[in-house]
């Protein structure tokens, strides 16, 4: 059985936030974020969705060096974290988190790398405080190249070794769309043991080694421990024209111009035919089941639409999707 998931923001329910988004002056807090998360879990239950990516800002400013007043939020919310985790477990919802783009573990500057380590450790602690099992992972990209691809990979490995045991147990590495391929991630796996999150669109965008889809997917799935369902990212490239509106300062008229989308941009919804082909390829070689995070801009709306599309176009496969 494959669980379909979506990231962070619920679009189907107006005003349902993923976390306390208030700025530091307004004193946001993890406990308020957890109230939103409780509501989100209620929505997931209603829609029978069993896979969800948490906001990485659930505990606002929790690792920000300039705001020590926010650093103790996990300790302040032990009971609330446990309660929300209990709801997720009772409903069979797999939770994961993807730290923001500023978390670059392999940054050459120690200050940046140390901040990234702190963030990964924090996210792992948060998942641990919810009492979640090893399936709740912190997914991270390798980071930047900084002019030396090989050294950048090696630096990532060294930084992983500096993480807490709890953080290393939760961490998973994802191939990206132009810097570190599946093959690079396999190299990292060989030295760290970290499981690999296979990203379909990134693989299609960045595959210098010319691996086949099934080969790359199989290699990534094999990096996961036997008791943890592997996690895969799926999305379709955006093909829609990009419309840019600009107000002309002189005439005050709005001018529209168009441009082609970036080749690596994500679409709003999932191409159901590409998804069907992907699953058929995976299942034709009897690879183990995995969970699929849909990295598309329409988030839960895209998930619900994909379910409908699969029931219509590939009912045999739809039965294996939750």
């Amino acid at each position: 059985m494959i669980h379909l998931g979506f990231p962070v923001k619920v679009l189907d329910v107006a005003g349902l936030k993923s976390h306390d988004t208030r700025r530091w002056r307004n004193d946001p807090h993890l406990s308020v974020s957890l109230a939103y998360l409780r509501d989100t879990l209620g929505y997931l239950r209603q829609q029978e969705i069993h896979f969800y990516r948490l906001s990485p800002e659930l505990a606002p400013y929790a690792t920000h060096p300039d705001f020590p007043q926010f650093h103790n939020q996990i300790a302040e919310c032990q009971r609330e974290l446990a309660a929300v985790g209990e709801i997720a477990r009772a409903d069979g919802v797999r939770l994961s988190v993807h730290p923001g783009q500023y978390v670059v573990l392999n940054a050459p500057e120690e200050q940046l790398a140390e901040r990234a380590r702190r963030e990964v450790i924090h996210q792992a602690r948060l998942l641990g405080a919810m009492g979640l099992g090893p399936e709740a992972v912190v997914v991270l990209h390798v980071g930047g190249v900084y002019g030396d691809h090989r050294a950048a990979r090696e630096r990532f490995v060294r930084q992983v070794e500096m993480l807490s045991l709890e953080a290393r147990r939760r961490l998973a590495v994802e191939n990206d769309d132009h810097r570190f391929s599946v093959d690079d991630c396999l190299w990292i796996h060989g030295r760290t043991g970290l499981p690999l999150t296979f990203d379909y669109l990134h693989f299609r965008s960045n595959n210098p080694e010319g691996m086949s889809l099934v080969e790359a997917l199989a290699c990534c799935l094999a990096t996961w421990p036997a008791n943890v369902p592997p996690k895969v990212h799926f999305s379709s490239p955006r093909t829609a024209m990009v419309v840019i509106e600009q107000r002309d300062a002189m005439s005050d008229r709005v001018r529209r111009r168009t441009r082609a989308p970036q080749p690596t941009q994500h679409a709003d919804y999932v191409d159901p035919f590409a998804f069907t082909d992907f699953l058929r390829a995976a299942w034709s070689t009897e690879l183990p089941d995995f969970d699929v995070m849909l990295e598309v801009k329409a988030r839960d709306l895209a998930l619900l639409r994909l379910r409908e599309d699969m029931a219509r176009f590939a009912p045999d496969m739809a039965r294996r999707l939750v």
């Binding site: 005003g15 936030k17 308020v32 109230a35 919310c77 009971r79």
Partner: protein, 273 residues
């Protein structure tokens, strides 16, 4: 990659769209706790489906005399913690619900709204999820609910034509509750006006909630009128005429607080939670 990542994570909302939870305040002691000690409590088992919010506003009941049956105050939410009742109210450690779990919602100073938001029909309410913009602009309680586009259009049309129906009425049946988008309580009968799907359920009865089926409403004595989004879009005036006709057939709308117990939700006990 970076474009998408930043897009997913940027979720700052305009201040006026900040979520607000309107909650019932039915006694002076709890009001003083909110004002002086800065907290409000909701039992976990009666908590609304939408608990997360940036602001908490209070719908005051008849216990508040001239300020009653209206929303007059709101405050920013600072923390939401889980505590047991004996911990919240240690002087009532022998209370029958002393071991029950509550959400303790810690709030900032109470702020008075620029104008009161009354319930024209002295309605009993537990929770309404809304936005700060709605809270600051609502003329009456029924303006607070956030409905689908069709529901909002219908509501605005009812107001323009002075058809005084009530929005979002929950009906209880055993351990379940179901929702009527608009209820017209008339002298000789009841009219349920439904516009297909409407907004989220879950204003906090603690019951299992679901949309109402026509036969259930009919069995409970309601005359059922359903309007599709297409009907509301294409012929709003015809929809209004049909509603007015149905109300007239049922003897016209009731006034004041003369309301059926069918309107009442899973409300807190008279002495409070």
């Amino acid at each position: 990659m970076e474009e998408l990542r930043s897009d997913w994570q940027a979720e700052e909302v305009a201040p006026e769209e900040a979520p607000v939870l309107v909650a019932v305040m039915n006694n002076q002691r709890d009001f003083e706790i909110a004002r002086q000690d800065g907290w409000y409590r909701i039992p976990v088992k009666h908590a609304p489906r939408r608990l997360g919010a940036e602001y908490l506003a209070f719908y005051q009941t008849k216990a508040f005399g001239e300020e009653g049956w209206a929303v007059n105050y709101y405050a920013s939410i600072r923390r939401v913690h889980l505590v047991q009742r004996w911990d919240l109210l240690p002087q009532e450690a022998d209370h029958p619900r002393a071991d029950d779990w509550y959400y303790k919602i810690e709030i900032g100073p109470l702020q008075r709204l620029p104008h009161s938001i009354p319930s024209q029909r002295l309605r009993r309410i537990t929770f309404i999820p809304t936005t700060l913009a709605r809270l600051l602009s609502a003329g009456e309680i029924n303006d607070l609910w956030l409905g689908s586009e069709e529901e909002e259009r219908l509501w605005e049309a009812f107001k323009r034509n002075e058809i005084r129906v009530e929005r979002r009425v929950f009906l209880r049946e055993g351990d379940e509750a179901y929702l009527i988008d608009f209820a017209a309580l008339c002298r000789r009968g009841k009219v349920a006006i439904l516009c297909g799907g409407s907004g989220p359920l879950g204003e906090g009865s603690g019951l299992r909630e679901r949309p109402a089926a026509d036969y259930e409403l009919a069995a409970a004595g309601w005359k059922v009128m359903r309007f599709s989004p297409q009907q509301i879009e294409a012929s709003l005036e015809d929809c209004l005429a049909l509603v007015q006709q149905a109300i007239a057939q049922e003897g016209g709308l009731l006034e004041g607080s003369d309301y059926s117990s069918a309107m009442e939700q899973g409300l807190p006990p008279a002495e409070g939670w």
